[in-house]
Symmetry: C2
Subunit: 338 residues, 2 copies
DNA sequence: AAAGCACTTGGGAATGTTCCCAAGAGGAGG
DNA sequence: CCTCCTCTTGGGAACATTCCCAAGTGCTTT
């Protein structure tokens, strides 16, 4: 690697002290207009770039926020990241992204990296395995702002961004009921994730409202591994009293279910109607198109970023337990109505 | 932010010099076994974490590689990133990811950020707008390794990772011809991207081999903006002599084309057969499923990362013009055969 | 003429590391 | 006893910044 121009180079060249150069470059007004001009010119000419390591070392500012997500493969998290970067970059912040791969140890390692990089704030959605939160508590202890989204830790007193999962699920299931389906199965997520519990509760509430008895045999706990869907669906359909409706915890799961059901020669929605959650791009494209609950994904990222910035700027208490709940929308397609 | 334990804290506590502590922590063997043990214990107890800014400042090592991609929305780039991170993290490198949003200015800004963060290597796929490469040349000038993938700059003498686009396209079009389609349209990418040109050439070569006349009216230049697909397809189908085959530059384009064609009431593949490129997840799920060329996406990321590491470790010349070409595979589905 | 002030500049400590150089202790060899 | 060598340690410069504390100049005010 070649030599980077430093403040010292500029000072030497112009025969002034590095203090003065620093003053110019940091926008300190106590500099003669003439010197200022000369410094700026030379800086430009030599393509001076501040050494962020030296800068961070002395100022303890890094202008970086971190974001940890469980995966990259669905369109959900990439969209959230776009939202975060939109807001963060406007505020002059860089983003460093880590992906835990739904693996707890990786998440812990990622958190270490974020810590080492002295991010000024951390936005995180945990893995489906995450049950302890020491690695994130460490940030609270060091007074580094944290914001959760989507997969949140309810026990930590920090701001969170979610969608109204309960309400969305309620409406999804209600929609199934109103189209005449009374025996509705649910593929539920891991129950250490509060998001799974909220969606399950919405499902239960809808059944209750319409006086439909809850049958635990058709509420299937499922670890979000897509290859588990196939046997689960087969089991459901092999029941003596198989469901005629299905509410899946998310779109990829619903999409996979549709494949399996079609392969068995059943008709959707006549034999069994299906609803997903998220409105991933794919849900409008498959056959039949998928009825689902849409959520404002990019907005989730933007909201999380705004919260982090407020925390960084002390406009909000680090222990604020504010929960921003964004609204969802039922998108009716052909997997529930012809 | 609270105080981070430093090497000095440990030294003071144990009444030894910071040099000795540093020696222990960097693995220098010239330390008495007894002192070493005490230092390590205390470091553990105080949760000592090296300050990477101070460290990078003196060593000029950052253990970071950067990656710039045009977008996050398709599954392609996220998968590449997973591949990169697999290899990089094994070698003890962190990855910083930037997304140019298909915007040239953003790409230039991203490059600046990478430079400022002193990445030890940069992996990049340029935007569809990128026609000049000064912002990347700057890395070459500073002797920072660069590797291109997918959207490469042919004029820069650096290693590159691509798939055999020419061959893949050739086989895609040949497949259409062999299923009886002789009038084959092509939605071609922006021609500043060599990837577009390579795919176009594969298309042309296949036509040539089967003595099919090239008709420029059905080779449509297209800027990869998905909403342009609809009018393009309508125009094609409104021709006095419309195509009965279509080779789209990528899967999202092909998928969109399928929607438009279905909406017009035409039969796929009878009236018009379609081939895409990439084998995105969606291509197996839509109706009809999409015949496409699959590419080893994660492998592309891994290969790029391996190259960068070799460059960093000087096992390869910075100006090596090695091009790793990975192979593709034709996946036949229902958009070309019933 | 002395004092005060605004404006501009330089010096140097501090940030948390690494690493070179020196030096002390203790033992071996002559 | 002196020299030399090994093992272990400490001191301090260097890395590129920021920022506080002088201090110098020239001007106004009394």
């Amino acid at each position: 690697m070649l030599h980077q121009t430093t403040i010292k180079d500029i000072a030497r060249e112009l025969n002034i002290s590095k203090s003065t150069v620093s003053r110019v470059l940091t926008g300190n007004p106590n500099v003669n207009e003439h010197t200022r001009k000369k410094v700026l010119e030379l800086a430009q000419k030599l393509d001076y770039q501040k050494n962020i390591f030296a800068h961070s070392l002395v100022t303890h500012k890094t202008n970086t926020i971190g974001i940890i997500v469980p995966e990259f493969m669905s369109s959900y998290f990439p969209k959230v990241i776009i939202g975060v970067q939109n807001i963060a970059s406007k505020a002059g912040y860089n983003t460093i992204i880590a992906q835990s791969n739904e693996n707890f140890e990786t998440e812990v390692a990622n958190a270490k990296v974020m810590m080492a990089n002295q991010v000024e704030g951390l936005i995180v959605s945990v893995t489906k395995e995450t049950k302890t939160f020491d690695h994130l508590m460490a940030f609270k202890r060091k007074e580094i702002p944290i914001v959760f989204f989507n997969r949140i830790c309810e026990d930590m007193l920090v701001p969170k961004v979610v969608v109204d999962d309960y309400d969305g699920s309620f409406r999804a299931v209600e929609h199934l009921i109103l189209t005449g389906k009374k025996r509705i199965a649910h593929l539920a997520g891991p129950d250490n994730l509060s998001i799974s519990r909220r969606r399950l509760n919405g499902y239960l509430a809808a059944l209750r409202k319409y006086n439909i008895e809850v049958d635990d045999d058709i509420i299937i706990p499922y670890d979000l591994q897509i290859d588990k869907v196939k046997p689960i669906i087969h089991n459901l359909l092999d029941l003596p009293n198989p469901p005629n409706g299905l509410f899946a915890i998310n779109d990829p799961t619903a999409v996979e279910a549709i494949q399996v059901i079609k392969a068995r020669g059943l008709k959707i929605p006549e034999d069994i109607a299906i609803v997903g959650f998220s409105n991933d791009q794919i849900s409008g494209l498959i056959e039949p198109s998928l009825t689902t609950i849409s959520q404002p994904v990019q907005k989730i990222g933007e909201t999380a970023a705004e919260l982090i910035l407020k925390l960084i700027n002390k406009e909000l208490s680090l222990s604020s337990s504010i929960i921003k709940t964004l609204t969802t929308e039922l998108i009716v397609r052909h997997s529930t109505v012809r």
